[in-house]
Symmetry: C2
Subunit: 344 residues, 2 copies
DNA sequence: GTTAGCACTCTAACCATCTGAGTGCTAATT
DNA sequence: AATTAGCACTCAGATGGTTAGAGTGCTAAC
């Protein structure tokens, strides 16, 4: 456990370093208003903090820089008590004003978040697996191609085009659609394939002529993997951070970001509240120099998606955590109100 | 007009520089197999070419580097005669195999193009303005929200959610949809707003109770600007090019690329064949250090979209032009076949 | 326990020097 | 008249030495 004085100095060093990105020396600290100790004393404390692993030197006679352990301690013990205010109303207004369409809200939020912080924001769109089918439509395009449109109760629209042999008559197609609509209404998208094979298949065989053939084609429309929507804001923001003025550090990172699956995996874990992952705590090599802050938004007890900010380990944790907290609360509440107003 | 010898040496210098990215000296050239002149002679020719504006020096005693005028001459006069073969079958197979869904094809093409060249590829998706409405669907979600779905004859699906006051009865909604479907079938998306205001509006007023109110809301679904789809492949590829190892050069570029409108504007001009824009020929400041090669693909005489590659002015013009040419032809042909097979 | 003082360390900036690749010019060669 | 060898010259970039300044750790005094 750190003494009061150690804690204070750790905090001052981290705050200073977060702002300046330069190693912090004892003299600079002793000059701060909140510190009334001489440089020599500070040096002793700093040596202790270094021995405890909270600080590091870049070379033998340099000032101190927070270690990852230092940041971790700072995040766990220093920040909680002193949440920053301000900017919170921006989040509230944003969510209130933009909530016409969830996708737009999410896109806009990602932008605002990265503008406010100068870090890269990543938002995992609302998880559509748990939403239920509202209506199914098949629109024939030509003799043997059609597009299937799925509308969910949350207003989300999915569509897939598929082809089929000309033998299927428009009449049969209509029958198929009717049966599917009748049986699949209210089923969650995730369960569609299962319900189709178990319940709907046999039914169709009864009513639709030569069904096996049609089924081969129809299947492709329903059994497709559903992509998770990913919204990224401010990809270039990190280029302005001094720690990334080396191309090679950036290259690997941007290549990682091009791979959507990998990014989705980063954020997909279930969680409550805010989660902070600092430097090497991250599982993916490409972001070992980064910190990742994630928050989730819910509908009821169901986690709908994740909001995240990615920046250097030298991150404005206090500000970022406060912002994410606010946005996640606002989104959760907006979601609740929206569903309620729309009679769920 | 250049002499035979000048042309040969210009070509050799450009080819060498494109490969090595280093200024080319007289000695290096004289050692090449296709050159049987001494370094001194080459130097004289190089001095002439520099005076004519085709070559430049980076400093008074450096080797020569092609100027933009040099590249322009190379592209206009040297390349045409010697088109590279190879890789063309990749393009053909790609288009043939992936053409289930146009969006997927375009996405995949963008990736392949950038993998093959190590430049960034940009494809402007098929212009949907000219496609015609096939079917319109309005799916009510709750008492006062619904999603409108537009299906075009090319199989493209657009959807917009909108809200309306509870006063509109499901009955009215159905009437509206019927009238719209009846009247708007076969109308191009671009003309929808026009036709609605001119023809459909009065009709609705006759049949639908209290129509003015509903219209206010419905309007929002139809009069939205339709975003042009943009596919970008290999955004990070340029980071590997030696000319961009300076963060500041890259930052402006990436910021420009984040602005979709700007990128769309870059490519939107109508054109035939391949168009090469070198360095300062580009109108946008952020890519004054880049070359942009564009090609278009058509359906019939109608230009459907644009394919482009963006790289340093030191670009493998020969390879890139050949590739783009092939892809644009393949896409045009595939589009033709697809429409034909589907009975247009 | 705190602080002043001092020797010590290391980085970063600056400068001088050197090397090598390349040039332009001139005079000799073909 | 065109080509080439030879040579003086230029400049970027690498190498190495010097210095200034910021910072440290330690010791001795307060």
């Amino acid at each position: 456990m750190l003494t009061e004085r150690q804690l204070l100095i750790l905090q001052v060093i981290i705050d200073d370093f977060i702002e300046s990105a330069h190693p912090v020396g004892s003299r600079a600290i002793s000059k701060k208003d909140e510190i009334s100790l001489s440089a020599a004393t500070i040096r002793n404390v700093m040596a202790d903090l270094e021995e405890l692993g909270f600080l590091e030197k870049t070379h033998s006679s340099s000032g101190r820089v927070p270690s990852e352990k230092g940041y971790r301690y700072y995040v766990d013990n220093v920040i909680g008590s002193t949440m920053a205010k301000g900017n919170l109303s921006i989040m509230r207004d944003l969510v209130r004003d933009e909530f016409i369409d969830f996708e737009k809200l999410v896109q806009k939020s990602a932008e605002v978040l990265s503008d406010l912080t100068n870090y890269t924001s990543i938002i995992l769109g609302p998880e559509i697996f748990e939403t239920k089918l509202k209506q199914l439509q098949i629109v024939p395009l030509t003799d043997h191609s059609a597009v299937a449109i799925l509308v969910t109760d949350s207003g989300h629209v999915e569509h897939r085009s598929f082809t089929f042999p000309a033998e299927i008559s428009p009449n049969d197609l209509e029958k198929i659609v009717n049966i599917l609509n009748d049986r699949l209404h209210g089923i969650s998208l995730a369960r569609l394939p299962e319900v189709i094979t178990k319940e709907v298949l046999s039914l169709m065989q009864m009513y639709v002529h030569d069904f096996e053939k049609s089924y081969q084609y129809l299947k492709s429309a329903f059994f497709q993997e559903q992509p998770v929507k990913l919204y990224i804001g401010g990809k270039t923001k990190l280029l302005t951070q001094p720690e990334f003025n080396d191309i090679n550090k950036i290259r690997a990172f941007y290549q990682m970001m091009e791979n959507e699956d990998q990014v989705v995996n980063l954020l997909k874990a279930p969680q409550h509240g805010i989660k902070v992952t600092i430097g090497n705590e991250n599982k993916i090599d490409e972001i070992k120099d980064f910190s990742l802050i994630t928050a989730s938004y819910q509908f009821g007890s169901e986690q709908m998606g994740t909001i995240a900010l990615l920046g250097p380990t030298r991150m404005e944790y206090r500000k970022v955590i406060t912002l994410l907290n606010a946005l996640s609360n606002e989104m959760t509440e907006a979601l609740y109100l929206w569903y309620k107003n729309n009679g769920y």
